[in-house]
């Protein structure tokens, strides 16, 4: 590692004299910086969006996908027995993590929006509800129904599939969209930095030719350009990233209230993600400029 580090330090420090050989900024140079900055900004945004939708999708999936309800509608005197029987069946069903009969208070809470707090749950012929939590593999609903119909005639399984599937799909769609945008913006960024670096290099064809004619080695010439453009891309991308992060920080002011859509932004270690952008942009610029410089040089004798 140590020698590599020395090389990187030397690369970043540069050779003051060699550095002057590359002309200062023109349009193409500014273009490189701007492209790097703008695309970094957009990437931060897309990243925030992706992570936020990812979190949303996770929550939806978690909350919806793994709970279902078993309803025991039986005459009052058989309810207890059937509930126990159902719980026994559920305990032995593969894929069921836990099953639990709701208490009267919980049932009353569920019904409160409709009937108010004074509903005499105990004296009413209200069915007993059992909450079923799946494990990761999930259970076979059809098989469970079959077993229940034999042992607990009054049980009705409502596995939520009907209304949970679209939600989970929507969540997955959102997540996919987020990552797709990132991939798109990333690809566009790489392509644009590449083209901008090549355009800037093409604009400096005379500099390269002159240097080659007075006896500069290829590595020396390439280095002078590569360093310049890598630093430009790094600087641009860093500026764009910082601006993007600030924008993301400022934006979701109503975070607390809008708890449903987990706020746009980064949470915890996710803040590390955007910090990856500048080095990535610099790496793209490095590769692109190097490639372009070497091609330009190969055309010269």
């Amino acid at each position: 590692m140590t020698p590599d580090l020395t090389r990187i330090t030397a690369f970043l420090a540069g050779d003051v004299q060699a550095d002057r050989l590359v002309p200062p900024t023109g349009f193409t140079a500014r273009l490189t910086v701007f492209v790097a900055a703008a695309m970094a900004f957009l990437t931060v945004f897309a990243l925030a969006l992706s992570l936020a939708t990812g979190r949303l999708a996770d929550r939806w999936s978690d909350e919806l996908a793994r709970a279902s309800t078993l309803r025991i509608s039986a005459p009052m005197d058989q309810r207890e027995a059937q509930t126990t029987a159902a719980l026994r069946v559920l305990e032995t069903t593969p894929g069921v993590a836990s099953a639990r009969a709701l208490s009267d208070e919980e049932q009353r809470a569920l019904l409160e929006p409709w009937f108010g707090p004074d509903l005499p749950v105990e004296s009413l012929p209200i069915p007993q509800l059992i909450e079923v939590i799946e494990d990761e593999t999930g259970y076979d609903a059809a098989g469970l129904r079959l077993r229940l119909s034999a042992e607990v005639p009054g049980a009705v399984l409502d596995d939520h599939t009907r209304w949970r599937r679209p939600l989970v799909m929507a969540a997955d769609r959102l997540r996919l969209l987020g990552w797709l945008s990132i991939a798109l913006i990333g690809a566009a960024t790489a392509a644009m930095i590449t083209l901008a670096a090549q355009a800037a290099l093409a604009a400096n064809a005379q500099v390269i030719a002159v240097l080659r004619l007075v006896g500069a080695r290829d590595a020396y010439i390439a280095q002078a350009f590569v360093r310049r453009f890598t630093l430009r891309a790094l600087g641009g991308a860093a500026a764009g990233t910082v601006l993007g992060m600030i924008a993301v920080l400022i934006l979701p002011s109503a975070q607390a209230e809008a708890g449903f859509l987990t706020g746009l932004g980064f949470q915890g270690w996710h803040w590390i993600w955007p910090l990856v952008i500048p080095p990535l942009g610099a790496a793209v610029a490095f590769a692109a400029t190097r490639h372009a410089a070497q091609r330009t040089l190969r055309e010269l004798s």
């Binding site: 002057r20 050989l21 200062p24 002159v210 240097l211 004619l213 007075v214 006896g215 080695r217 004798s301």
Partner: protein, 217 residues
Amino acid sequence: MSYGGGELLSDISLTLSPGSFHFLTGPSGAGKTTFLKLCYGALLPTAGHVRMFGADVRDMSRDDVALARRRIGVVHQDVQFLDHLPVADNVALPLIVSGRDRTDESENLSELLNWVGLSKRAGALPAELSGGERQRAALARAVIMSPEVILADEPTGNIDWEMSQRLLQLLVELNRMGKTIMIATHDMNLIRAAKSQVQARVLRISQRRLHTAGADL
């Protein structure tokens, strides 16, 4: 040597011995520049062999060519500079790219600029130079490394007679120090002036051949 189409130069065999002084003449478009480009490895011959300092250019790596160029000073016919650097830096460019310390040579540099009459214009950008000033700067750049061989392509095309004489004298002096000199020119007066000072051979390109011109100039 040929550029895709017909042959331009053929059946040429020449060795520049160290310390020799050559003129290269011939009508416009005869191939003088092409010949010089072969000599400093800017072109590869389509047939035959070119040797630089004993090595065949075809066998030389790109870095070998770069290193060889530090031992050859070239004044190009279409002079190109780094347009964003002042004249002094452009003249010192070979020192910079070969990693030499410019400060060691700064006296050398100012003396040279003085000789070619550019002391006052040292801080100007290349675009602000007159045609003749560009050529003089190019000559200064060619000799700053004190190269073993100096190839000059029409170095006095845009320069008045007095200044031409002055530049010729610089080259003659370098030749006396053992440098090999080759000048492509169509200025017969310059050749005549040189002949009175050094033993110069005149080569003439015509009908795709290299002829040695007699002493009849």
